[in-house]
Symmetry: C2
Subunit: 120 residues, 2 copies
Amino acid sequence: MEFKAILKMLVQQCNGALGGVIMGYDGIAIDEYLTDTAGLDVQTLAIEYASVLKEIKRTVGVLRTGELEEVSIISQQCSVIVRGVSDDFFVALVLTADGNFGKGRYLLKREAPKLREALQ
Amino acid sequence: MEFKAILKMLVQQCNGALGGVIMGYDGIAIDEYLTDTAGLDVQTLAIEYASVLKEIKRTVGVLRTGELEEVSIISQQCSVIVRGVSDDFFVALVLTADGNFGKGRYLLKREAPKLREALQ
């Protein structure tokens, strides 16, 4: 399956999802899928978070608590769930504040290996 | 209730919790409660994360998606759930990889207003 097809499925199966993006820690996106209702600029959001994620990855490395698996950042208006796909790439799902956070986490966990395969 | 009493309750009521700390975004802790089994240095971990959290807070500010409410960082060996308490302070709960993540989130959300009050 192509990246966009996986991202589309992630977004469509999760209530309140605004968009999904697969991106490098350098802030360069491979692909994205956005709903029409995504008022937010999901790509800008992902780029802004990419540098933060790089820093989190570094910190997790320093602390030696194993590889970084997931990061979620919840603000008043939206939630962002990020899952590491490879050493260089992550997938991010952006949800409305009342989106299904638990399902989003579950779907990302389930689909990450497929994205990893698609990267190879 | 004192900070330590709230932190103790948080840790004791959440399966797999290793410790809790209330800390400034400058990395200076107000108080902490650690279990005897916490092999990790919870305070070092919180200090390392404090600078990352400051950066996340800044990013959320730039993106104008409302106030930062919660951040969670999951690595292979442990999960850290962080909740903003005030503009300057956050509370962090550190769990084992198989700890009750959902209950940790719930307890932090429930107790954050009490910590906010105790700060005043």
